[in-house]
């Protein structure tokens, strides 16, 4: 008898398949970018999960499964967290691509290109006015979040650089690098001169 199948992995594959196909259906372009990937198979490894998932793309439908006969056309290795945050980040920054890397990159681009007009979808259920207010609220919240992030980053930087003087500012680093380069050049020149003198001494 075989080992029991990995229920958690099968549930994950089913969930990703459902979410992805719903996103394609709601996408402004109806998943047009996936058409170029027709009849291809992409292997996706989401660390820390060891077993890969296989994405079978046929027309604009994506099927996800845990086993595949033969090799996938392209493989992508990334983290589960990076993949889960792809709809917000719109990129897979640390992905490792193998096999047909062009195909793998096109798959990532297709995933990143999915653009759902949530306000429009919401308006079907709530009407335009409420959908606009919810959308406006979310946009304001996201804008405030970005501002808060930028302000906090700037405050911490200034505190470390000017109050504590724990880290240098940009132009200090540049000046230091220039001085190191100058010393390196001078040492190189000195080394060559010494070598030349040694050769002269040996020949005489």
């Amino acid at each position: 008898m075989q080992a029991q199948p990995n229920l958690a992995l099968i549930s994950l594959s089913k969930t990703i398949e459902s979410v992805l196909n719903t996103a394609i259906r709601l996408d402004d372009m109806q998943g047009e970018a996936f058409k170029a990937l027709d009849d291809n198979v992409i292997e996706l490894t989401l660390t820390p999960i060891e077993s890969p998932l296989y994405f079978l793309i046929t027309h604009t439908t994506v099927s996800v499964q845990t086993t595949l006969q033969g090799e996938a056309d392209a493989a992508i290795q990334t983290t589960l967290i990076d993949f889960a945050s792809l709809p917000i980040q719109r990129q897979l920054p640390h992905a490792k691509l193998s096999g047909d890397t062009d195909l793998a990159q096109r798959f990532i681009d297709a995933l990143c290109s999915l653009d759902i007009d949530w306000e429009e979808q919401l308006s079907h259920y709530t009407g335009d006015l409420i959908a606009f207010k919810v959308g406006h609220g979310i946009r304001t919240l996201l804008g405030a979040q970005t501002n808060a992030k930028q302000t906090a980053s700037q405050t911490i930087r200034e505190y470390l650089q000017f109050e504590l003087e724990a880290v240098p500012v940009k132009h200090q680093v540049a000046h230091f690098c220039e001085e190191v380069q100058t010393i390196t050049d001078e040492v190189d020149a000195l080394e060559k001169r010494i070598q030349q003198l040694q050769q002269t001494q040996t020949s005489t």
Partner: protein, 250 residues
């Protein structure tokens, strides 16, 4: 019934061999229109998980040619058709015309067209050339076949070298206490549900009986090897209520 006529099981009764096909056809003609809803009610929706496992383990890919034998209302065909793409093909075959008709209408209504063929086929005499399919499945159908050995030989014949047969079928419950509960459910609750939902107690009584008459896990595995399969294994699901047998032709 003549004493000399060879008989075969039809549920717990014995019928002449040539009559089993007609009787099974009668059962499925009767349940065809309510088949999907009854499956959901009888298994509490778990049949979807069993089928999903089957699809997952098939390892199917675009371009593959698949036979969904006893395909019924097309649950597996639908999933396979999406996966094989326009370069592949799925054949939904069933001995029962009513089931094929329900399956065909359902799939067309769901937009599954272009790469699916529908045919009436007897598992014991498949009208396909040798080495045709990358994958063949028979889900909840083998127990209704009169000559199972012949059907397995036919399935082996139509598979390509490297091809795989998947048999999803009710089997023998492995946990004794659970087996008692399952027997009670099968013979007391299931036929009543059949009467309530499909107004057809007898057909569902047959379904319960036919499950008990079906070969257990190890016997079916041995039958697959005897039919010619080069490798066979099985996987119990839900404590053996259902087993997924897989056989390979190398």
């Amino acid at each position: 019934m003549s004493q000399n006529k060879p008989t075969i099981d039809f549920g717990f009764s014995d019928v002449p061999i040539e009559e089993k096909v007609k009787k099974v056809k009668g059962v499925f003609d009767s349940v065809a229109s309510n088949y999907d809803i009854m499956n959901d009610v009888m298994s509490l929706g778990v049949h979807r998980i069993w089928k999903r496992h089957t699809i997952e383990l098939s390892g199917i890919r675009p371009g593959h040619v698949v036979l969904d034998l006893a395909g019924g209302t097309g649950d597996l065909t639908k999933a396979f058709a999406k996966r094989v793409g326009k370069t592949g093909r799925v054949v939904l075959a069933d001995i029962n015309e009513s089931m094929v008709r329900v399956g065909r209408d359902r799939l067309i209504n769901e937009g599954i067209v272009g790469n699916v063929d529908y045919t009436i086929a007897n598992a014991e005499a498949l009208a396909f050339p040798d080495n045709t399919f990358d994958l063949a499945t028979i889900a909840f159908g083998l127990r209704n076949v009169t000559n199972k050995d012949k059907a397995l030989e036919e399935l082996y014949r139509v598979l390509k070298p490297g091809g795989q047969l998947m048999i999803l079928e009710f089997s023998k419950v492995t946990q004794p206490l659970f087996a008692k509960f399952y027997d009670f459910y099968s013979f007391n609750i299931l036929p009543k549900m059949g009467k309530l939902i499909a107004n057809d107690e007898a057909s569902y009584q047959y379904l319960a009986e036919s499950i008990r008459m079906h070969p257990d896990q190890d016997t079916l595995k041995q039958m697959m090897l005897t039919a010619g399969f080069d490798k066979a294994e099985y996987l119990n699901m839900s404590e053996g209520i259902v087993a997924l047998h897989r056989g390979w032709k190398f």
